[in-house]
């Protein structure tokens, strides 16, 4: 217990006054700008909910949203399946396996997704005769399949790197410990290594999902009517800029919700690591 100052009767000095430093002024001004633009955006959106544009196009936005979710989920799952052998190849000590896997990963990570999509959708059209003969033309003729094909291959490259990095990050002692217990390599891998690796990989996997959602907007350029595609169609028909505003709000909501859910999942799964 601290004795009060006999002359003033106070136990502690008063808290220092917060001064209006330049930084604080700048921060408040910027925040005021954000709040004002946020309020204006809300007003804009609110006043346009009943507008003919919104009435006419909102079902199409919903359709686009569903298409986007479909593209992203299908590609992510196919990519995840494909990433396992690639990651295994990357980690392999044999050059026959590691080299093609390395080339694959570098190719898909070194070129833009847009160019890859063009290559598959337009470029493979050069071989329409051969593809027809091989009975594959129905696949490469359809923009939907082309997009799924490209996105799956693309995300497989990224996911393979995530997987490989995570598995190689698990300390060697974990393997040795398993071997000392007389476990087979399969059991060690699936019961000891993989769970720890996936824990580390959670965050990069979350980022990859978000990147995929954002990247899927590229599908709109190759004639797919996903959320972005519907937006562009709505804009080209109405010349109303709110087309893009609604899309921006939709994408931000999707990405932010997903990010928050993912953070919750991660916090839940790694709660035994929290100190």
């Amino acid at each position: 217990m601290i004795a009060a100052n006999p002359s003033t009767g106070m136990t502690r000095p008063p808290p220092p006054q917060k001064k209006w430093t330049n930084l604080r002024i700048a921060g408040h001004v910027l925040m005021a700008l954000w709040i004002l633009s946020g309020l204006y955006l809300l007003y804009f959106l609110g006043s346009n909910v009943a507008s003919p544009f919104f009435q006419k196009y909102w079902p199409e936005y919903v359709d686009g949203f569903i298409v986007t979710i479909q593209i992203v989920s299908v590609s992510l799952v196919l990519g995840a399946l494909l990433s396992v052998p690639i990651a295994a190849g990357r980690a392999s000590k044999l050059k026959i396996f590691s080299w093609p896997a390395y080339a694959y990963v570098n190719f898909f990570r070194g070129t833009p997704l847009l160019a890859q999509a063009f290559m598959v959708y337009y470029g493979f059209g050069s071989f329409s005769e051969e593809l027809k003969a091989a009975g594959l033309w129905w696949f490469f003729r359809d923009a939907w399949y082309c997009v799924i094909f490209t996105f799956s291959l693309n995300t497989a490259a990224y996911q393979a790197e995530i997987l490989r990095g995570a598995i190689q990050n698990v300390p060697k002692g974990q393997w040795e410990g398993g071997e000392a217990l007389g476990l087979s390599r399969n059991v060690i891998f699936f019961k000891i290594i993989l769970p720890q690796a996936l824990m580390v990989a959670l965050r990069p996997y979350g980022n990859e999902i978000i990147l995929m959602i954002k990247g899927s907007a590229i599908a709109s350029i190759v004639t797919i009517y996903d959320l972005m595609g519907e937006t562009r169609r709505a804009y080209s028909r109405s010349y109303d800029f709110q087309a893009y505003i609604w899309a921006a709000v939709a994408y931000l909501l999707i990405v932010e919700t997903l990010r928050r859910i993912w953070d919750k999942i991660e916090a839940r799964l790694t709660r035994h690591l929290k100190r």
Partner: protein, 237 residues
């Protein structure tokens, strides 16, 4: 095979010069975006790193927005949004002129917005890697805040942020391809035109992929060198 070579050659019959000009546009767009994005990203990282909560929040809102929007959408928002805003402004002044935003500038602005929000995260984590004692040492030597930042913090910051920034550069290089959609005559657009005219899409889009691969490979080598240069002080120890 010969046909393909003729198509890719420079001069009257070939598309070589068109493609080359596209490469030039792609590279210059990326190079023009880089300094703006870096400076903006650094300023945002400073704001996020400051002790002032309102400034932090303002910076975080910025990054949340531009990291959440697809790059393509950001591009359209800037390209059409700025155009409409300026058009309205001109109308407000009482003139009736058609105004069109340069697609290069629009691309530069949009890519800078995206790049800076990612770069700010890279800088921020680099800031976290610098011990508090470095600032205190600077102040103890009587250096001003600005001089401490410039002479003591920044050189270490760059070294710590380089790997992440290198990755961002590669991403930026690939993202420039999106600008072809708003009509800038970059590599992808020129190749697309060539593909449509010659009906050889496989050849030209294959060329695009190869050129991008070359660009990223060259960048990787360059980045490795810069990284080694930035770590030359570590080797002595």
């Amino acid at each position: 095979m010969n046909e393909a070579l003729t198509l890719l050659s420079f001069g009257e019959q070939g598309w070589g010069d068109t493609i080359a000009s596209g490469v030039l546009i792609t590279v210059s767009l990326a190079l023009a975006t880089l300094p703006i994005g870096l400076i903006l990203g650094f300023l945002i990282a400073l704001a996020k790193n400051s002790s002032e909560p309102s400034l932090k929040l303002a910076a975080n809102i910025y990054t949340t927005i531009f990291r959440g929007l697809p790059e393509l959408l950001t591009l359209f928002l800037v390209y059409f949004g700025v155009q409409i805003a300026i058009q309205e402004f001109i109308k407000l002044l009482g003139y009736d002129i058609y105004f069109e935003v340069n697609s290069f500038v629009a691309g530069m602005v949009a890519l800078s917005l995206v790049f800076s929000s990612y770069a700010s995260e890279a800088f921020l984590s680099a800031f976290n890697g610098i011990p508090q004692g470095q600032y205190e040492g600077g102040y103890a030597l009587g250096l001003s805040r600005y001089k401490t930042m410039r002479l003591i913090i920044l050189p270490q910051l760059i070294r710590l942020a380089l790997p992440a920034l290198g990755n961002l550069w590669l991403i930026l290089l690939k993202e420039t391809s999106l600008v072809s959609v708003i009509g800038l005559a970059d590599l992808v657009r020129e190749a697309g035109i060539a593909a449509r005219v010659t009906k050889e899409p496989f050849l030209f889009f294959g060329l695009v992929l190869v050129i991008y691969l070359l660009l990223t490979m060259i960048s990787s080598v360059g980045l490795l060198r810069i990284e080694r240069w930035s770590k030359r002080g570590d080797a002595a120890r």
